[in-house]
Amino acid sequence: MTNTWQDIKNANVVLVMGGNAAEAHPCGFKWVIEAKIENKAKLVVVDPRFTRTASVADVYAPIRPGTDIAFLSGVMRYLLENDAIQHAYVKAYTNASLIVKEGFGFEDGLFTGYNEEKRSYDKSSWDYELDEQGYAKSDDTWQHPRCVINLLKQHVARYTPELVSRICGTPQDKYLEICKIFASTAAPDKALTSLFALGWTQHSVGAQNIRAMAMVQLLLGNIGVAGGGMNALRGHSNIQGLTDVGLMSNLLPGYMTIPKDSDVTLDKYLETKQFKPLRPGQTSYWQNYRKFFVSFQKALYGDAAKAENNWAYDWLPKLDVDGYDVLRAFERMDNGQMNGYICQGFNPMQAFPDRGKIRRSLSKLKYLVVIDPLDTETANFWQDYGPQNPSKPAEIQTEVFQLPTTCFAEEEGSLVNSARWLQWHWKAADAPGEAKPDLWIMAGLYHRLKSMYAKDGGAFPAPILNLSWSYADPAEPQPAELAREMNGRALVDIKDDTGAVVLKAGQQLDGFAQLRDDGTTMSGCWIFAGSWTEKGNQMARRDASDPRDAGIAPNWAWAWPANRRILYNRASADLDGKAWNPHKPVIQWNGSKWVGFDVPDYGPTVKPQDGVGPFIMNQEGQGRLFARGLMVEGPFPEHYEPFESPAENVLHPKVKSNPAARVFPNDRKAMGTAQDFPYVGTTYRLTEHFHYWTKHALINAILQPEEFVEIGEALAKEKGIEQGGWVKVSSKRGQVICKAFVTKRIKPLMVDGKPTHVIGCPIHWGFTGVARKGYGANTLTPFVGDANTNTPEFKAFLLNIEKTSAPPAVDVAQGPRDAQGVPKSLTKVGSL
């Protein structure tokens, strides 16, 4: 989230599109209700289904899964055509005026520079025209045909209301009603907040879905202001923390990136990171990248990271591909290129697409280590559970190790919420049985690996042998020790410009501004600097007071970066530093400094007239309507159909789906066509369950006991399906036999003149846990991801559905057995 949960109450319009906040985030949703009641906000919901969020909405519109870019591009067209943009904001705070290079173009669904063979672009033309000093040229009069705003107008001109309706299936009147509500927030004192989640990310165009909305928000002047923003509602407790500390195959902590194999030296690597300003006088904060990076290396390798060895740069892994995301990992496993798998805290059998491929791939491993608090489907993939998991144990050689861990309530530590708050929590109970903290397990692995490298050598022992490991108990580092390390500390006395000592050697840093690139500071995650200072654990603060009722409680926990609650908050004020919305100021210029409810996301004494842009991480200092080369499929979002889609791409039939998305050959063969699978499938969560965990909890199982799909009345009638009756739902990849819920809440959509039916597939059931056994919706989903992030396309694919009878019941006597040959279901009887 750019803003916070409480800040939602400041919105005039709440848009829930690409998510289902009431069901997936019921606690946070209280702030939407608050906005409605206290701020008379309108709630707009755009979703393929009439959800529980829609049940409390003022306006609901249906949309075909996978067509959000068409909808939002249409909104941009509407705003530009009707001059419903916040002019002063757009002119000063976005790159609308900057001039794009000659040679940039878009034709028949492709931007300039496409290489069909590589399915990627040469992006050199996707950039600004530069002057002699290397600054982007600009035309504040917006007369230049290649200034960004004119290129954008040209790009979205095709998305007329007729075309949007034809692609999305959204009735035109509803669509235009929503455009009008969007437009109402172009007023400087009005704000729209965008709440989204996996409904936007889990598409082959996921990142561009979000960019399209961010562009709408920039045009409306809704970024950085109270009640505005782009607010990604995170789906797991601490998935935000996961990305913050870089637990992705291509990331280092704090959104630094793992070097590529072409970055042969540290200097070469840093050349691509330390972005120089593209407009005069801009902050371009990534210029400090070297400080963050060297401090990280000091945290990783301690004294072994030295100037002489380039801060141990050579010990870092170098990527030979864009990333080893989960799709690539399982593709490699399936091809026999990955023989062992350590699976910590997630459940691929349930959570990844094309379960048949996942099961097949796991079956080819030599060993699988599952580190989890629960008895997951992944750990049991090899067992024969009947139709819900038809494995043949005798044919599977994979050795499976299950290491039970503590869960969040059985350990202390911090969790980062959607609003970027690091909230410390305390252990509530001891873990049952032999469960151990993940830290104990990881430390054990580390020590064994290290002693093996020390004893036997090996190809490249240095990165392991030199790791810094200074914990009180080396066998079990404590969360508090790691938290202090992530914050970082001074390694020598740190002096300011006058020579006065600011920090003594060994003291915790106050913030990332103190980081140095000469090896005198260390910090495991620069954006967390400030979370555990000499004043103590800032994450454990619990002062909920919200001065002046602004939706900001600055002394509750700690938010990265620098305890800032609203990102880009300089943009909440006009060019003179006065709040656009005088009733809801965030920070304002008082003549000598920036003051307000929040920590300024800006130099605290930088004068408004200095013209420093509010988007300080960007080289232009401005929000980007034109993304330059930062996205793989283009600087503007474009509508591409999902990889499995019932419709042609009416904009450019030859380029139907995302031209830059990676598809492995076997997975392409496993894609179905509308002829065999005529209906649009989409997967989602229900409020009664949390992913695949709560089917292990009896109360949740009582509240939603059994797998089902949701279909509209028209489709049910056409296929003779009864309410609650058994159906067989199939894709090219597999089938699910479950109950049908026939509902008025899913209606056929008129797509390109044809009625299109949507089948909704909740994801929660599997073959472990106390709820009734299910096949798992990801038996059906396609193995393709977003072109930028490779987040799988779970939200739009093709299905067929037929009436059927109940699947054969599993005969327990034939079911899974333990090592002694006793049926597993019986060894679990509580009385033993």
């Binding site: 009431a22 209700i33 003022d58 089902f708 049908a740 509902t743 809440r745 009734r772």
Partner: protein, 313 residues
Amino acid sequence: MADLQSQDYIRRSATNLTPPSVRHHELEVAKLIDVSRCIGCKACQSACMEWNNLRPEMEEFHGAYENPHDLNPGTWTLMRFAEYEDEQGNLEWLIRKDGCMHCEDPGCLKACPAPGAIVQYANGIVDFISENCIGCGYCVKGCPFNIPRISAQDHKSYKCTLCSDRVGVGLEPACVKTCPTGAIMFGSKDDMKDWAGERIAELKERGFQNAGLYDPPEVGGTHVMYVLHHADKPSLYSGLPDKPHISALVGAWKGFLKPLALAGLAFAAVSTFVHSIVSGPNETTEEDEEAARREMSGPEMSGRGNSEGKGKS
């Protein structure tokens, strides 16, 4: 817990009770359920199970979001979901938390023939006192909202207590505490009516011209009230009665039939006495006793024996 000793009862089933005269300052409470703020998340249902240690049977999916599919002895509150399309074809998903309404004039209490099995406290809560319940089911017939359920196991009647145990020590009911959107509020009945007034005004501003409070006078008002967007048509909300009324049978039973019933009871007692004088006490044969023993130790016992046997093998 309130009881006769604590002088909290104002009514007690099948008992002529004079409410204590000095404790007249009890505040009447009410739970206000604002369906326009409710997102149907079932947190209230889960909190009810947690607080009251209820774990109803896990059922199957039966073509609805209601799980379990109806109120039962272990499900004292239930989210009900109604898909409603108006004349213009606009869809609404009307979600209502169902459970005991705690009527001011409780039909269950009126119908109950067991002394002290149903009581009403001075704060308005209607509570079932299991030790006095005879499982006759008259409360089910007497309830205008179809709420009480009789357990097949212990033949007692069960329903929402409005967390009388929590309210008795100054806490709000568990469902109120857990509701994430503030759709369930709790306080004095007067305060809840005031708050409802504000909510209704806001709903009218949003175009719900028929928004209103559900506090049906037919049962003297209720201590669980709803804010409805369509107060003119309560039955849209999964059959909430438009005009709830206590069955005429209850009135008859407690009214003109009461002397007749009492006469019947007296006749039965006299006949029994005469029968024992004339024929001697009833006797059972050994076969009868054996059959009774078999029934008592029936399938439940043997089932447990089986599973233990298998587990150990």
